[in-house]
Symmetry: C2
Subunit: 487 residues, 2 copies
């Protein structure tokens, strides 16, 4: 697998000199991201394409290759695989589609032919996929010219190429870093179970995400899932949970999706972490990579506006999380740090106006953490209100008005002093064309907070959802461990 | 009420010359938004504040006043109301807090005193609120210096000032326009029932939004709700649905929240439209103001990426909406307009790559609409992929690469020719600091689409949720009407 995910030399088979087909798209993506190894485009007409010598065939490539990326029409794919096999490649990824997902006899026959080739000693990713992303080697997805080159703990295994590309791009700005992402499409060879097993043992991977529509071998998948989940969290997003979704899955990756009740029961048994959709997957992955392992049942919520607190308490309650009441002494210790009027030192703490100083915010967090039942703290910052302030009192640029760097320090000090994580919520309520300045500051704040290990979510509900997923996973892990110890 | 919502002269009582208290904040907001009438700040020390002559008392104001905005400390509020009353004001809005929401005997006594003053012939909005927004008159919220001056059909009645301000700002860029927003806070006088009744008969209001934590008189509220809902949709977001949320509501606006089961049952009986949270409220309000009244059961989904289609079909199914299968003839008519390879003409239609030309998109929509079971069409555009294209093929600016204006025309022509609405989904998967250009184009696209009457949502799930709410409301309305006609 290492030769496939971090190849020294790659042949891109099916690169047109013009247009923007899959072949040229992946070649340019690899060039732009700065792939570490050698790149050999293959085009029957030869010549030079985008600065690279193009070879007329795989056989003509002067050196050895580790990976072949195949982007030729479906009917030419078997021949391309055979070339890579004879050239000694460890594997191929097949971007081409036109196989079993078309539900034509021709497509199904071609897919069977590919399957047989895999048995000859070459690993196959795809067909009908967007490839592999590995920040270490610079292997990237179609199209992924500007994905992060910084490696991280999250592996992603996905039947859907689109979801892989979306997750990779979202991860970049949300601060989720990846070890490897594999989009396996129709998955004739390498697919969910084997990849899960691989990343389960991979030292560089601490959290695994998985998008599946259907399973090839349910029994062995669930055995693997159970085993891997006992070592690291596996977040699973399932497509095709309903009849309509199942039909769509069939035409997407030719998957029979299975019943949703059975699925949910098995997920629970395996201690897999379910994610409702891509957004949920991102939120949960961020929470796992930024929160210390542990259970989080009690939460303090610090925000401007009573309705946010009410909504947060409702959301927490629906997830069986607690928003513990603060005692009188605790409230009295918080009150001096709150702006007047309209604030409330109860939990949820209503800071009433959005212009709370970082030093006050730090004191509020330090005090709220003294409540024993508080395991984690959520701060809601409505940064957009600073825009109103800057309109009312013109002069300073928005960035100079909002002390995001001081906030980052305050949050990180509060975490260090209390040992209780702080999670930020930065809703973006102001997104008109004239408010790109507030978008800029929000993005900078997100970066600064992430540098301090503070995750940022879009809403309190999303933050609670992700925290709950983390807590639930470790809670089950601990209770299973204690059962094992006792038996 | 007209004198309160569109006042000719306003006294702002409690304006400091320095700092950024509630009084000065609202004065500056009114000045900046360009309030139509006369503005009289009141400050015991007189002088000139922000360009306005400040009067030592309400009595000293030379002309008559229609509305008093009160921002003095709680204990001085009763005297301020009396002054406005003797000056002949139709009403006051009290931004000050420190009343029953504090749960102190002093605060409760003060609130009772205010209540008694209301009986003397002046209407009171608040206390503990952020005021009234009316685009016609330029009366605005705290802080709301840059809210839209364009009036529209949505009225909003809210116990929460923060939620009112948030909704007003979100509405601006999402294309939701308001007739009047009233944040009534503790609501000693004017509150949910009377305001609902008023906007129920208001010619300028076509859709009403409501945020409540607790009701003063449940029986009369539900009678009014049922009556108004038979004429126009009333979208209700309820805070304090759970025990924890209820406790938070108590300290926010001193409301006893009531049980969630009873609430849901009554909502259904009244044909009120429930919204889960602020985001849901915005989505549903946008759908009501941009879709023709009617039921929408069958949906076509056109997007790039099979997983999006699978997720959409799952979401539709969970809401009892259909993603009807296209017949062979229909699929054959769509296929020539799809890029190759990897696309699928089934519903959901997978356009496979995100660079579909507007002319092709129009043909796909025209053909998909021929399916009788399709009532509405959802298009998912992953505009961020154009960013990859612009990185791979440098030269043109992103805005010149993405034909958003041609897309707007294509969507609007498809609606005009088929009579079936088109709804856009523009997910923002790329939000790093370096991608502000794609944010700019997305915001411009949203404006262009809105001009053509095409609403834009953030995800397929949100679009379906909002469409379903609209369809559900009109479905019940129709079935009740037919029952009435038969009896």
């Amino acid at each position: 697998m290492k030769r496939i995910f971090e190849p020294g030399a790659v042949a891109v088979i099916g690169v047109s000199a013009e247009g923007f087909g899959f072949g040229r798209g992946i070649l340019l993506s690899l060039k732009t991201i700065g792939f570490n190894g050698a790149l050999y485009p293959v085009n029957p007409r030869g010549g030079v394409i985008d600065g690279y010598v193009a070879y007329r065939s795989v056989e003509e490539i002067p050196g050895p290759i580790d990976l072949g990326i195949i982007a030729v029409p479906a009917k030419h794919v078997p021949a391309a695989i055979e070339s890579c096999l004879s050239k000694g490649a460890a594997g191929v990824e097949i971007l081409s589609s036109g196989f079993s997902e078309t539900a034509t006899s021709e497509g199904i026959a071609l897919e069977n032919e590919i399957s047989r080739l895999a048995a000859k000693g070459i690993r196959i990713i795809g067909p009908n996929c967007f490839g592999v992303y590995n920040p270490r080697s610079g292997l990237t997805l179609l199209p992924g010219p500007d994905l992060s080159r910084e490696p991280g703990p999250v592996a992603f295994i996905s039947q859907s190429g689109g979801m892989t590309v979306d997750f990779a791009h979202i991860g970049k700005w949300r601060g989720i870093r990846f070890s490897t992402m594999v989009s396996f499409g129709n998955g004739v060879d390498l697919r969910e179970t084997e990849l899960l097993d691989y990343f389960g043992s991979d030292q560089d991977t601490g959290v695994i995400g998985l998008y599946v529509e259907g399973l090839r071998d349910g029994r062995s998948f669930f055995d693997t899932l159970k085993s891997v989940s006992s070592r690291k969290p596996v977040i699973i997003c399932k497509g095709g949970k309903t009849d309509s979704g199942g039909k769509a899955a069939m035409s997407h990756t030719a998957s029979a999706a299975g019943s949703s009740e059975v699925w949910n029961a098995v997920m629970r048994q395996c201690n897999a972490v379910p994610a409702a959709d891509l957004d949920g997957l991102c939120d949960i992955a961020l929470a796992f990579t930024s929160l210390p392992p542990g259970t989080y049942r009690g939460v303090s919520i610090i925000g401007g506006g009573g309705a946010i607190g009410v909504a947060a308490a409702d959301a927490a309650s629906l997830m069986n999380m607690k928003v513990p009441e603060f005692g009188d002494e605790l409230k009295a210790s918080i009150e001096p740090h709150l702006p007047r009027p309209g604030s409330s030192a109860r939990n949820p703490v209503d800071v009433a106006n959005p212009y709370v100083a970082p030093s006050s915010m730090k004191e509020i967090l330090l005090n709220a953490a003294r409540c024993r039942e508080v395991d984690i703290q959520i701060v809601v910052q409505l940064l957009y209100h600073y825009k109103s302030l800057s309109i009312l009192m013109p002069g300073a640029a928005l960035e100079d008005v909002i002390p995001i760097s001081e906030f980052a320090d305050a949050f990180s000090l509060a975490v260090a002093e209390t040992g209780k994580p702080v999670v930020l919520v930065l809703p973006e309520h102001k997104q008109e064309l004239e408010a790109l300045d507030i978008a800029t500051v929000t993005r900078k704040a997100r970066l600064l907070y992430a540098e301090k290990g503070i995750p940022v979510f879009g809403s309190v509900e999303q933050a609670l959802y992700a925290i709950h997923a983390v807590s639930d996973y470790y809670g089950r892990l601990l209770s299973r461990a204690s059962l094992t110890n006792r038996s």
